[in-house]
Structure formats: structure tokens, C-alpha cells
Symmetry: C2
Subunit: 356 residues, 2 copies
């Protein structure tokens, strides 16, 4: 006698609410599980008759069958899920990036998980570190924005020799390893400064966030390059936290001087909003007494009064293009790094400087 008799037979009643499997469909349709799988994969040409295909479809419909994703992920070795790393979704710019990326992913049957990563290395990383590490094997690739590569690879569990995940970077230095999709912020900045120079401005100042990142470096370099040999001077410079009130304080230090600038170039619309506050506190009219510019073209650009002259960045397209590049990479095609145009958007916050 074999050591085990038949174990306690499971209740033969059809379990009611359990999700149906391909086996259930097979039984109902009177075919084998393989056939069900073939039909659902669409690979049945020359292997299954039309009549059987019909039967399988009907059976699937009546049971409400959906293939178990975990099982196919395991079998196929792919999860059709990618990770989007952005600084914060509370910034509408990245909300738009996400939307674009999601749409592109959806078109090719991929899902997107978001990992809002703190920009500053180290801070607030704890609550997310663990699930990220866990998700590592649940991902096919990573689309990462505005983050230093080293901290990213650290996040990716880089300590071990595990093979790296396919990676595409958004808005980061094109020279670095992975393919990148960027916005031509340099060209945008150039157009912006040129616009101000053409209006007659000769005294410039600059308000920048205390965030490191390729875009900001690129903006800074383009700003300096555009000013060089222009006859205009860069008179001052302030770094600030990324909030309206902090920006206002910082802008005040730029404006409250014996010879204030006539043009204030801010690296983001939010900072420009702070600059508006500072200007008004100093009794300066915009744009008569001072021209102020932003960057990004968020909603607040049109909320401000006068509406803000800024550089529009194609956030949605950035996400879309980046995701497309990543999926191409996953398909084995080596995507080329691309740049998207940024567009100068002139509104009411810039004008010729007052005559002295």
C-alpha cells in the first residue's frame, strides 16, 4: 500500500466566486487548455478551426474569463510594467509627463507604476525604498526624470551584481550612458534672453531653485552664453527653495539694491510667482519697472497678472516620447536620444525697460 491514501478530497462543488482559469474555459468549451491558450494568444491560424475558436470565445465570455497576469508574467518572463521616476506628482509638470507616458505605454499594452522620488538625495527615501526594491523584479524597465544617475542605481538595488534594468532618462545629460529624451531648454533660454535684449534690457538678474539637475545647469549655461558679448550684464543671482514664499524672499534680495536689474529671469513659473510678490512689495510695476520671466508654462503663468512671459516645455510629449523610446529599447531596437523643442511664449510680463 502506498503511504498516502487519497487525501481529503476537496469539496467537489464548483467553487462559486473564484476567478475562472483557462482550464475552466477549456472544460466548458470541450477542448484542451492548450487550445484555449492558443486562441487567446491569437496564434491559432492553421491550428484551430474557426468553429472551435468561436466556442472558446463564447465559453470565455460566459465565464468572464481573464487570463491571470501573474501566471503569464512568470511564463513569459516579462511583466509589461515599467517604472516612472519623477520628483513629485504634485508638480503639474510631472503630472503631464505621467499622462503622456501612460498613454504611450497603454498603446503598447504596458502599465506604469510611479515612484515619486525626492530630488534631494537621502531625504524621505525610507518610506519608498522597500517596495521599490521588491518591485525590482516586477519591472521591465525604468523611465527616470531629473535624478542623478548614481542615486538612481542605488535605488535600483545596485549593491548586488544584479543585471541592470533597461533605462531611459528624461531631461538629463545626453553624454551619460543611457539613452535620453530632453527638451531643448538651451534654445528656449536663448530665445528668451534674446527677446529681453531686443526689448533693450541691459541689467539682468536670475532666480534659480536649489535643485541640482541637468535642466537647470543647461538653463544656466544658456543664459550665460546668451548674455556674453551682448553688452548686457548679469548683476545678481539667488538660489531659493521651490516655493512661492521662499522665492519671494530670495527675489527681494535681488530687487532691494541701489541699482536693481530691469529683467529678472526665473528658472520656473513658481519662482516667477514669488518674484511678482517681491516686486509688488518693492512698489515696482510689472512690466513697466521690471520685466519678469518664468520657465515651464504651468497654469500659474496665465493666472498671474500680468500673464507671464515664459518658455513652454512640452511635458506631455516628453513623457510620451520617453516612454516610446523605452519600449523601443525593450524591443531590442536601440532608440536614439532625442530633443524636443521648447517654445518662447511672450505675454504681458516683459516690456522695454523704463528710461532712466
Amino acid at each position: 500500500m502506498p503511504p498516502t491514501g487519497p487525501p481529503a478530497e476537496p469539496p467537489a462543488t464548483d467553487r462559486p466566486a473564484a476567478r475562472p482559469t483557462s482550464k475552466d474555459v477549456a472544460k466548458l468549451a470541450g477542448v484542451s487548455q492548450s487550445t484555449v491558450s492558443l486562441v487567446h494568444a491569437g496564434k491559432w491560424h492553421g491550428r484551430v478551426s474557426e468553429r472551435t475558436v468561436q466556442a472558446v470565445h463564447e465559453a470565455s465570455a460566459t465565464l468572464g474569463y481573464r487570463p491571470n497576469q501573474a501566471a503569464r508574467h512568470l511564463r513569459l518572463g516579462t511583466t509589461r510594467t515599467v517604472l516612472l521616476v519623477v520628483p513629485a506628482l504634485t508638480n503639474p509638470f510631472f503630472g503631464a509627463v505621467h499622462t503622456g507616458a501612460s498613454e504611450a505605454a497603454a498603446r503598447r499594452d504596458f502599465s506604469v507604476v510611479v515612484y515619486p522620488s525626492p530630488i534631494r538625495a537621502g531625504t524621505e527615501l525610507a518610506p519608498f525604498a522597500s517596495p521599490f526594491a521588491a518591485a525590482h523584479t516586477a519591472l521591465d524597465g525604468v523611465l527616470a526624470s531629473s535624478m542623478a544617475l548614481e542615486s538612481l542605481s542605488e535605488l535600483l538595488g545596485g549593491t548586488g551584481p544584479g543585471p541592470g534594468l533597461p533605462l531611459v532618462m528624461l531631461d538629463s545629460a545626453p553624454e551619460a550612458g543611457p539613452p535620453t529624451v530632453n527638451v531643448e531648454v538651451a534654445a528656449g533660454m536663448h530665445a528668451l534672453v534674446t527677446h529681453l535684449l531686443a526689448l533693450g534690457h541691459r541689467r539682468f538678474a536670475r532666480l534659480v531653485p536649489d535643485i541640482d539637475g541637468w535642466t537647470f545647469t543647461a538653463r544656466e549655461n544658456a543664459y550665460r552664453a546668451a548674455l556674453r558679448d551682448s553688452g548686457a550684464v548679469h548683476v545678481a543671482h539667488a538660489r531659493t527653495e521651490f516655493s512661492v514664499h521662499e522665492a519671494a524672499e530670495a527675489a527681494l534680495t535681488l530687487l532691494d539694491t541701489p541699482e536693481p536689474p530691469t529683467a529678472l529671469v526665473c528658472d520656473d513659473d513658481v519662482l516667477a510667482a514669488g518674484a511678482y510678490k517681491a516686486a509688488r512689495r518693492q512698489g515696482l510695476r510689472i512690466p513697466e519697472d521690471i520685466s519678469i520671466t518664468g520657465f515651464d508654462d504651468l497654469i500659474i503663468a496665465t493666472v498671474l497678472e500680468p500673464e507671464l512671459t515664459t518658455v513652454r516645455l512640452p511635458a506631455h510629449q516628453l513623457g510620451e516620447t520617453g516612454m516610446t523610446a523605452l519600449l523601443d529599447l525593450l524591443d531590442g531596437r536601440r532608440p536614439e536620444s532625442t530633443s524636443l523643442a521648447a517654445e518662447l511664449t511672450v505675454r504681458g510680463s516683459t516690456a522695454p525697460p523704463a528710461r532712466r
Copy 2:
């Protein structure tokens, strides 16, 4: 002789870049795969010696082993992934909801996928419908915001008899089936109107978005209730699309009348921004000639000048509480529907009406 000889033997060389499995770890540590699994699950007390545990950990570290998520999902029948359904992440309010939800999920080792759903039924649904259906079996639950239940269940692939996914709703009617987490918008609106009445306002108007949803209905009802028997009158009402410029147009129709209101109650800060524009186009000063209020307390509330009196909604906390409720539900605990307080935030856009 059996029909098949040994099939073409796989190349016995250790494959270089393949992700290591628990089997590889087991071999290196000199134990069985089961033991590795037990150690990683932390369920080894009384079953594995400390020394062996050490060995397994070391082997895992040197190989850079990460458990394959697909395999454990399949085995465990759970994916530890939930879906967040929000109208649009480009609205910073929902960005904050997402952040809160993600943090709560991360704390319990869950991932979040986002499905930005159009508010208006039918539109733009196509690009997302398919992956959503596919993801259906890859989800443990759904946290949904501001959407009609019927369109949601449609999204969930409701045609078939598939068992429904555990669901928690954000900001929706508490009477409906699933547990809800809401913000006490009614109390917030009551406080707001009371504030305006106390300032002496007697002629009210209202600017609302052309979006259906529980919150907006609740705001409207609370507004009317607060005005009833107050001696004040509701003079006009306009619906508008959810954008600054459209809102400005709509607000103009409210203000450009023989007897304009002295208080304009807007259902969102974005609409209030539009109202500011309309007021200025009419030559009205804020708040001397007209008081304007918003709702939500987005960044633009402090960007506007004067800064906007509004009702702060705890977006982050909403996402956090909602996610916690959903995860409780998944754990079998029946969460109770809860409400979060909304806080009246008085700033510079409200003042006593001008004497006539």
C-alpha cells in the same frame, strides 16, 4: 527504448546575466530551495538554525538575489498592487492624493498603478481601456475618486460575471455600496458662507464647474443651506469649463449686470483665478468692490493677488486614508466610511462689502 532520447542538452555553462533564482542561492549556500524560501519569508523560527540563516543571507547578497515577483504573485494569489483612479494627475490636487496613497501603500508593501480617467463618460477612454482590462487580474483592489460608479464598473470589465474587485471610493456619496472616504466639504462651505455673511455680504453669486460629482453637489447643497434664512440672496449662477479663461468668461456674465453680487463663491481655486480676471476687466477691486472665494487651496491660491480666501482640502490625507481603508478591506477588516475635516482659510480676497 523510450521514444525520446535525452533532448539536446542545454549548454552547461552558467548563464551569465540571467537573474538568479532561489535555486541558485540554495546551491551556493548548500541548502535546499525550500530553506531559502523560508528564510526570505522570515518564517524560519524553529525550523532553520541561525547559522544556516546567515549562510542563506550571504549567498543571496553575493548573487544579488531578488525574489521573482511574478512567481510569488502566482503562488500567493495576490499581487500587492492596487489601482488608483483619478480624473487627471495634471491637477495638483490629485497629485497630492496620489502621493498620500502611495505612501500609505508603500508602508504595507503595496504598489500603486494610476489610471487617469476622463471625468466625462465616454471621452478619451479608448487608449486606456485595453490595458486596464488586462490589468484586471493583476490587481488586488481599486481606489477610485470622483467617478460615477456605473462607468467605473464598466471599466472593471463588468460585462462578464467576474467577481468584483475590492473597492473604496474617494469623495463620493456615502450611501452607495462601497466604503467611502470623504472630505467634509459641506462643513467647509458652511464655514465659508458664514464668514461672508459675518462680513456683511447680502448679494451672492456662484461659479461652478460643469462636472458632475458628489463633491460638487455637496458644495452646492451646503451653499444653499447656509444662505437659507440668512437674509442674503443668491443672485446668479454660472457653469463653466475647468480652465482659467473659460471661467473668466463665465464670471463676466455674473459681474456685468445692473446689480452685481458683492460676494462670488467659486467651487475651485482655478475658477476663482478666472473670476479675478473678470473682476479686473470690469474695473472692480478685490476685495474692496467684490469678495471672491475659492475651494481646494491649491498653489494658485497664494499666487493670486490678493491671496485667495478658500477652503483647504486635505488631499494628501485623503489619499492616505483612502488607501489605508482599502488595504484594511483587503485584510478582511471592514473599514468604516470616514470624513476628513476641511478648513476655512481666510486670506486677502474677502472683506466687508462697500457701503452703497
